[in-house]
């Protein structure tokens, strides 16, 4: 078998794995159950909550991530390597462990003080946002750092020799040139936050019509052996995810040709 055939076969096998999983949903796909689930008040609540919390979590991750990623990309400072390493923490530690760490934090005196005097995170919508934010922050900073790395430093130096202050150079040169990467980081963070489950269930629990995001709704439906309802919710989540990926692709393409 030629190299081309062998590698293409491997690529198609990857498609077969995920395609097969999606196709298997068809066995339990029930059109009336699908319509009923997708139009139910509970489903609409879960959808709305997921879209909103993921949007806030992704926006916060990008807002914090832009300056952090810029610093990691442009400066060498004490603790640089440590920060760089900790970005992978959400990848190597399971989301459930991350959620548990948040719970432990709020059980500490300082965390308890925040709960009482600032925002109530545990078993609340704020907890959903926090769990999603913590899960996606590392990945977002990593993606943003890559975006800044791709903008040559030389351009900032040139901008400054032309009279721009450092912040003006970043604003007028670096950020516009990194915008493709920033948009991609935001959409991918949003899509990942949308599907976040492990940390969310630890911090916010599984309270129907209160902290019930789409992944938690899937878990609850499956727990009550409602397979057609589960399939409907999975299809909804997959649809949104694929839409986000396609949107990212189109945005990147549009910016590249601009």
């Amino acid at each position: 078998m030629s190299l081309r055939r062998a590698t293409v076969a491997a690529a198609l096998a990857v498609l077969a794995v995920y395609g097969g999983l999606l196709a298997s949903l068809g066995w339990f796909l029930d059109r009336s159950a699908l319509c009923a689930t997708l139009t139910s008040t509970r489903m609409l609540f879960a959808l709305r909550l997921s879209l909103l919390t993921a949007l806030v979590a992704a926006a916060l991750a990008v807002a914090v991530g832009i300056p952090a990623a810029y610093a990691l990309s442009r400066f060498r400072f004490r603790g640089h390597q440590l920060v760089d390493m900790v970005l992978e923490l959400p990848l190597v530690v399971s989301p459930a462990a991350l959620g548990a760490m948040l719970l432990v934090f709020f059980a500490n005196p300082f965390g308890a003080w925040i709960q009482v005097n600032v925002v109530r995170f545990v078993f609340g919508v704020a907890g959903v946002v926090l769990a999603q934010w913590v899960t996606v922050l590392g990945m977002t900073v990593r993606l943003l750092k890559t975006a800044f790395d791709e903008v040559p430093r030389e351009l900032e130096t040139v901008a400054r020799t032309l009279g721009a202050t450092q912040s003006h150079a970043v604003w007028t040169v670096t950020l516009p040139l990194a915008s493709r990467g920033i948009v991609a980081a935001f959409i991918l963070a949003w899509a990942k936050a949308l599907g976040e489950f492990g940390a969310t269930i630890m911090v916010a629990g599984t309270m129907a019509m209160r902290t019930e995001t789409l992944p938690i709704a899937i878990y609850l439906r499956l727990s009550s052996a409602d397979l057609p309802g589960t399939v409907a919710l999975i299809l909804m989540l997959v649809g949104i995810g694929l839409f986000a990926l396609e949107l990212t692709r189109r945005l990147l393409r549009a910016t590249a040709h601009a």
Binding site: P152, E154, L155, V158, R160, T161, L162, A164, H168, T172
Partner: protein, 356 residues
């Protein structure tokens, strides 16, 4: 105008040692050196990207050593990646005016003159991505000059271009320099570029100034063997001074003896440096003329070059001559041919060699 005084800078493991140089108003000073010699580190320190450990940088009398990049009054044209790809050429050119909030009435006339002088009028609405290498560098030059800096730093600005384009841009830069009285610090590893554009030169080797001075002085009289090698001196052979009288010395090189200008102490060990174009070849013995050195030599090999052909000779020591193609054909030069190599005494440059 631009003075660098005993600058010491570290960049990672590399260190620049006590570099001093001075560029007068309207002068072009080239910093020459091979890769890794410290040219870019020096430039980065002058620009303000790297902070020097010691030393001062002055521009028009003002100490700019600790000033931020944007307040130094320096223009900068990098080798590549200089234009902002998300802006049009026009937006690139007016960037400095916007950044410094200079009114259009003050900025536009200068820009118009520069655009006309460089012939980039037709490019103004284009994206830098669509420009050729030569067009990009023209725009880069205009953008740097439009910000009206007191001195311009050029970092191998034409290195990525082909030969013909490079020569065009050299002429353009010479014209701009003359018309705008530009003060230029040019960093390059290209000898031809440095000789074409610069009045004075600094040769950097291993982070130190190896030689500094007038370009012709450096070209004809390299101070150190390493400088001679870097400058591509064709003949560089060890010799010993065997006679000295007044300002003339006789040097023994291989089995030959050469007359050179002194004063050099009797018995001194030297490196004999002779430029290939200073060696004239003759089939007739080169009688007449004032040249003191006439060596009978046998042609060992001929190497094609552009534009000159390099002739390797055995004159009692390996000697190299550069001749034009017509001259080479007229002399019927081929391996084994016997010729007379004629060299004037001032063309035989002696570089002191450390004993042992």
């Amino acid at each position: 105008m631009l003075e660098v005084d005993a600058l010491r800078v570290s960049a990672g493991r590399f260190r620049l040692h006590d570099v001093s140089l001075s560029v007068g108003r309207g002068e072009c000073h080239a910093v020459l050196g091979p890769s890794g010699a410290g040219k870019s580190t020096l430039l980065a320190a002058i620009l303000g990207v790297l902070v020097p450990e010691t030393g001062r940088i002055r521009l028009a009398g003002a100490d700019i050593t600790t000033l931020p990049i944007e307040r130094r009054g320096l223009g900068y044209v990098p080798q590549q990646l200089g234009l902002f790809p998300h802006l049009t050429v026009r937006e690139n050119l007016v960037y400095s005016a916007r950044a410094r909030r200079i009114p259009a009435a003050r900025f536009e006339p200068v820009l118009e003159r520069l655009v006309a002088a460089t012939g980039i009028g037709a490019l103004l609405e284009r994206s830098p991505r669509t420009l050729s290498g030569g067009e990009r560098q023209r725009v880069g030059l205009v953008r740097a000059l439009a910000s009206q800096p007191q001195a311009v730093l050029l970092d191998e600005p034409f290195a990525a271009l082909d030969e013909a384009l490079r020569r065009d841009l050299w002429w353009l830069l010479r014209a701009l320099r003359r018309d705008w009285e530009l003060t230029i610090l040019l960093v390059t590893h290209d000898l031809a570029e440095a000789y074409m554009l610069a009045d004075r030169m600094t040769v950097l080797l291993d982070g130190r100034v190896a030689q500094q001075g007038d370009r012709m002085e450096i070209y004809t009289r390299p101070a150190m063997p390493d400088v001679a090698r870097f400058l591509g001196v064709e003949t560089l052979e060890a010799g010993r001074v065997v006679a000295a009288q007044d300002d003339l010395v006789t040097v023994e090189v291989g089995s030959a003896r050469l007359t050179a200008l002194g004063p050099v102490a009797l018995g001194a060990e030297v490196l004999v440096s002779i430029r290939g174009e200073d060696v004239a070849l003759s089939r007739t013995g080169g009688a007449g003329g004032s040249a003191r050195n006439r060596l009978l030599a046998r042609v060992v090999s001929l190497r094609e070059g552009s534009p000159l052909r390099c002739v390797e000779l055995d004159a009692g020591f390996p000697l190299y001559a550069l001749v034009t193609r017509p001259a080479s054909e007229e002399l019927a030069l081929r391996p084994g041919a016997v010729v007379t190599a004629v060299i004037k005494a001032p063309a035989v440059h002696l570089i002191p060699r450390r004993s042992g």
